[in-house]
Amino acid sequence: MIQVSSDKILKYLLFVASLLILLISGAMVLSLVQGSMLSFHQFGWKFLVSDKWDPTSGSEEYGALLFIAGTLFTSVLALLIAIPMAFSTSLFVAEYFRNTRLASVVSTLVDLLAGIPSIIYGLWGFYVLRPFIVDIGLSAQGYGIFTSGLILAIMIIPYATSLTNTTIMMVPNELKEAAYSLGATRLEVIWNVIIPNARSGITASYILAFGRALGETLAVTMLIGNSNKMPTGLFSTGNSMASVIANQFGEASGLQLSSLIEIGLLLFVITTIINAIGKYIIKKFA
């Protein structure tokens, strides 16, 4: 009797807890939508394609394009840099040195990267990476899309590798052994057996890592230059969606505040879509 009722209580508790999460996410979307109404009424869909961010009172005009561009450019660049590094790390850990002491040390170190607070990445980027980029002559002051993308790449590597490792390890040994017995080289096994079998897991993990890069704020703010202009190249300065919100939220009011909230809503939508794509790929092809 007691057994049954405690079971029931737990069931209701779990129900309430999960309902609460649903409610909180719903309330969050609702307040984001509500907060951005003012800006939406003023600018409509033009908000998405205008690259003007002018807080001068009297001629206020806000558009999100330059921040969307800054966020996408840095995140795509981060992904492009991270993929070769993350993939080779995964092959190292999950295939070449599988189950060795060295592999476990490497994979622990990579996981450790995920635990470092982003302010530490920001500081390291500001005091070490940025001066280095200046010294090798890539850019005059070192701030901009490239430096931000580079630091983001390092930050997302653990997210890209952990899931990839698992899927590579899950490729059936029989398949690999069959390939070897046909005289395939290791590279041919990777190319023809491992990658086709682990493709969905690998793709999904890179997409999730990309989603992580989109929302990163602190490290990007310290390195991107925070100039509210359309980025014109790899070494140009710019601004990102998360960064402009963090920077201007405190003293903003009225239309500017509403526009910042709308950027928040856009970031929320973009991240949700990216994550949904990742989840879909895992489900569909796994």
């Binding site: 961010w53 002018d54 807080p55 001068t56 009172s57 009297g58 500001f126 005091y127 940025r130 001066p131 005059a140 002051q141 070192g142 701030y143 703010t221 310290m222 230059g225 925070n226 100039s227 509210n228 300065t237 601004n239 960064s243 963090a246 920077n247 201007q248 939220f249 405190g250 003293e251 903003a252 009011s253 500017q256």
Partner: protein, 345 residues
């Protein structure tokens, strides 16, 4: 910011449910004078036993709190315009408590100090002067050997009273600036890179060769950052210091003290200076406030104008008010009423 508003919320809740029987004073607003207010209020509590809490939530939020009548006083770095004053639920008065300034900091290897005219300053921040070896810089700095180095402008990426004061000055001295950028807590910068907060700007300048930017004086004085001399309206190159910032208040000040001191015509004034104010309602009987609460509020603000409190301001790198301004501020305080009767005799 988040912490501050949480703190404020806590203060408001505590005062709302009346946890302390004694009149407890609460205020909210500008973050710029926060270190000064914290130290002064602490001293006030020590000597009088009166508890004062202050939330550094930003000028805008402070004015909102006063409008909602949830604090005894608000605080702001910018005075309310006539329009904003009219929008308040009841007449509000401004009482200045100290002055601050915005200094121009730079990073030029081997150069300790430079002199700038308003024209050159505007041209640098508008991106018209792009290199330190520009002839216009050489002309006003004969003894300085400028390197061939690109200028990197550094500005505040977050909304800030510091930016407001700096752009107010540039607007006053340049038509081109007024037309293109104007005054504001954030403006549409034409060139340069942004950094968050005074420490962010100062840090970025110190890490970037050829950088120039603007920093709040309370921060730069405490950190002893190399700063530029500026040509003031009286035609003198002035080094920013507590004395020259204070001197900016020695000109003609309107009776209600609502004036931006930027580009002051006082002889020894540092040109990018300004007051910071406490704001209270002229009629103190509102929201069932007691006479005791009203008296306590006014006594606190009156004390802020006295020598003891002003000395604290100097200690934490804020410029004390000149005597003339103290007199004007005390005159305003004497006119505060409760039920139409003056509170201070």
């Amino acid at each position: 910011m988040k912490k501050n508003s949480l703190f404020l919320a806590l203060v408001l809740i505590l005062s709302a449910i009346g946890i302390s029987a004694k009149a407890q004073l609460s205020g909210a607003g500008a973050t710029f004078p926060l270190p000064f207010y914290n130290m002064a209020f602490e001293q006030y509590t020590k000597t009088t036993g009166e508890k004062v809490t202050y939330g550094g939530v930003g000028s805008g939020a402070g004015i909102k709190s006063l409008t909602d009548k949830v604090v005894d006083f608000g605080a702001s770095d910018a005075f309310l315009s006539d329009k904003e004053l009219a929008a308040m639920p009841a007449p509000v008065v401004h009482i200045p408590t100290c002055s601050g300034a915005v200094v121009v900091a730079f990073n030029l290897p081997g150069v300790e100090t430079i002199r700038l005219t308003p024209e050159v300053l505007v041209d640098i921040f508008m991106g018209k002067i792009k290199n330190w070896n520009d002839a216009s810089l050489k002309k006003i700095n004969q003894s300085v050997k400028f390197p061939n180095l690109a200028i990197t402008v550094v500005y505040r990426s977050d909304g800030s009273g510091t930016t407001n004061m700096f752009t107010d000055y540039l607007t006053k001295v340049s038509k081109a600036w007024a037309n293109k950028l104007g005054t504001g807590k954030t403006v549409n910068w034409l060139t340069g890179i942004g950094a968050k907060g005074n420490p962010g700007v100062a840090g970025t300048i110190s890490q970037t060769k050829g950088a120039i930017g603007y920093v709040g004086s309370e921060y730069s004085f405490a950190q002893k950052i190399p700063t530029a001399y500026l040509l003031n309206k009286a035609g003198k190159f002035i080094k920013p210091s507590l004395a020259t910032v204070s001197a900016a208040g020695k000109g003609v000040i309107p009776a209600d003290t609502r004036i931006m001191l930027t580009n002051s015509d006082a002889t020894l004034a540092y040109p990018i200076s300004g007051f910071t104010w406490l704001l209270i309602y002229k009629e103190q009987n509102y929201n069932n406030r007691t006479l005791a609460q009203a008296t306590a509020t006014i006594k606190l603000i009156d004390w802020m104008l006295d020598k003891d409190a002003q000395a604290i301001a100097g200690k934490v790198n804020y410029a004390p008010l000149p005597e003339g301004v103290v007199k004007q501020a005390k005159a305003i305080l004497r006119n505060i009423t409760y039920d139409g009767k003056r509170v201070l005799k």
